[in-house]
């Protein structure tokens, strides 16, 4: 038997929830579940259990008791926890949901919430998370341990705010794929699991948004790692099954008539996905969705993206006019200005702006892309 690691990890939140319901404190329970996962990876390939979840609960609970006893002995106190556990009263989905809330608690910084979510809900090891974020394992271990302390006194049975959970999952997805762990795929898995635990149109909206972007992954970069802009992507390489799923999830969410920013973003991604060639993109509708998005968020980044869409829908002059109302210090402002100026026929200004944008890029792939654009216009 080869170990289905995704299945194993999908059991993590339910097992952890059961331990917490039995009275284990969150931090100790979380350690015990990690131990049980490691044990499962070691034992299951040779000796697969009939009831994987029951096996994990038993092993994790034993680990928890051992650790508690050791701790108690060390402190020369009486053995506090030796009673037979009570059975959990609530179904797994509630536990899973509570864990998402806890790990994205507003008292945590974004990086702590991300790390804790990936470990306690995602079942990833500290080493895997450290590798994904390119920091030493000891640093990530400290980050997680502090995060657990921060939420140590948070009541497990209080409902949290879905919006904070969605922001954490969005951050994980956007980090993409930098190490051994595919964070985009992991974010999708965790968002699917969340969507199964709660019926909420923005959870569905975020899941749709992720699926629609993930569908384009193969076409987004060349084999050598160069960025390929949307208009030049080989649409034959888009994953049509993922697109169909994303669109269906989005339509069901929109039908609930409770629009939110992730649904609006997904709608824009769906309109791009719907165009068989770039020239057939329905930019007029995309501008309308950006207007919806602005009404919901009023974010300067959305205004910038809207200017691009206006440039496509009503021509580059209209795009430049929309751009003129925005703050020039916005990230990617120069890149957008360069694009619109080239479309308007002013190659010289465009080249200058592309070079300027390259100097301000926040990542190497974008810098190289923008430098090439400048070079193309200068030659």
């Amino acid at each position: 038997m080869t170990l289905d690691e995704a299945l194993l990890r999908s059991l993590t939140p339910a097992v952890l929830g059961i331990l917490v319901r039995r009275g284990a404190d969150f931090a100790a329970a979380e350690d015990a579940v990690q131990d049980a996962l490691v044990e499962a990876v070691r034992v299951w390939p040779e000796d697969p259990p009939r009831d994987p979840k029951g096996w994990l609960v038993t092993v994790a609970w034993r680990r928890f008791l051992d650790a508690t006893r050791a701790e108690t002995a060390r402190r020369r106190r009486e053995d506090l926890v030796d009673a037979e556990p009570e059975q959990g009263l609530a179904p797994d989905t509630d536990d899973t949901l509570q864990l998402y809330f806890l790990c994205a608690h507003p008292s945590l910084t974004p990086s702590s919430a991300v790390a804790l979510t990936l470990r306690a809900v995602g079942g990833l090891t500290t080493r895997q998370i450290a590798q994904a974020y390119l920091v030493p394992e000891a640093t990530m271990a400290q980050r997680i341990s502090r995060a657990k302390k921060t939420v140590g006194d948070v009541r497990f049975d209080r409902p949290g705010d879905v919006a904070t959970v969605l922001r954490v999952l969005y951050l994980v997805f956007n980090e993409g794929y930098s190490g051994d762990v595919d964070l985009a795929a992991e974010a999708i898995r965790l968002t699917r699991q969340l969507a199964a635990a709660i019926d909420h149109p923005e959870v569905a909206g975020l899941l749709a948004l992720m699926l629609l972007h993930h569908a384009r992954r193969a076409s987004r970069t060349t084999a050598g790692g160069r960025l390929v802009p949307l208009a030049e992507q080989d649409r034959g390489r888009w994953d049509t099954a993922l697109i169909a799923e994303g669109v269906a999830i989005l339509q069901a969410a929109l039908a609930q008539d409770r629009l939110g920013e992730f649904q609006a973003q997904a709608a824009i991604a769906a309109l791009h996905a719907d165009a068989p060639v770039a020239e057939e993109t329905d930019w007029v509708q995309i501008v309308e969705w950006y207007d919806e998005l602005l009404a919901l968020t009023d974010s300067p980044v959305v205004r910038l993206n809207r200017a691009v869409a206006v440039g496509e829908a009503d021509g580059p002059r209209a795009g430049l006019k929309a751009l003129a109302e925005l703050d020039e210090t916005l990230p990617r402002y120069s890149a957008v200005a360069a694009y619109l100026h080239e479309r308007a026929g002013d190659r010289r200004t465009a080249a200058k702006l592309y070079a300027e944008a390259a100097g301000k890029a926040a990542n190497l792939a974008e810098r190289e892309y923008l430098t090439r654009q400048a070079a193309r216009l200068n030659n």
Partner: protein, 135 residues
């Protein structure tokens, strides 16, 4: 989450406020300075924000390619080099503001008379990964 490099210079940075050279401090003042740096790194480790820290010897060599089959050319060190890096620390933090706060704290390391040296540090962002969702 973003990584930043805190660069410490032997020379090239603007003069610090408490600008007495280290060899004119008392041994206790030197120890206090080194202890401060070490405590600072420990705090970063405990806070889950530490990535790396290294110190560099002042003497370096310039090296360049000199054509197929030939050994590289070496030169220097050049006395006129204005900028000389003494070492660095790499941090992984939630915001630029947090990076500024930490750099400010490191710059408060004690020098002569136990007073902060107000040393200038250079703060440089790392390139991150390209975000998946841009439009």
């Amino acid at each position: 989450m973003a990584k930043y490099l805190l660069l410490k210079h032997y020379r090239g940075a603007p003069a610090p406020a408490n600008d007495v050279p280290m060899d004119q401090w008392t041994p206790e003042e030197i120890s206090a300075h080194i202890q401060y740096m070490s405590d600072f790194a420990d705090e970063l480790r405990a806070g889950g924000e530490y990535v790396d820290g290294q110190a560099l010897a002042p003497e370096g060599t310039w090296v360049r390619y000199d054509g197929e089959g030939r050994p590289p050319v070496t030169d220097g060190p050049f006395a006129e080099t204005k900028d000389l890096i003494a070492g660095w620390m790499v941090i992984d933090v939630d915001s630029y503001e947090r990076a500024l706060e930490l750099a400010g704290k490191l710059s408060a390391a004690p020098g002569k008379d136990g007073k902060p040296i107000h040393e200038w540090l250079e703060l440089r962002p790392f390139y991150g990964t390209a975000p998946t969702i841009t439009e």
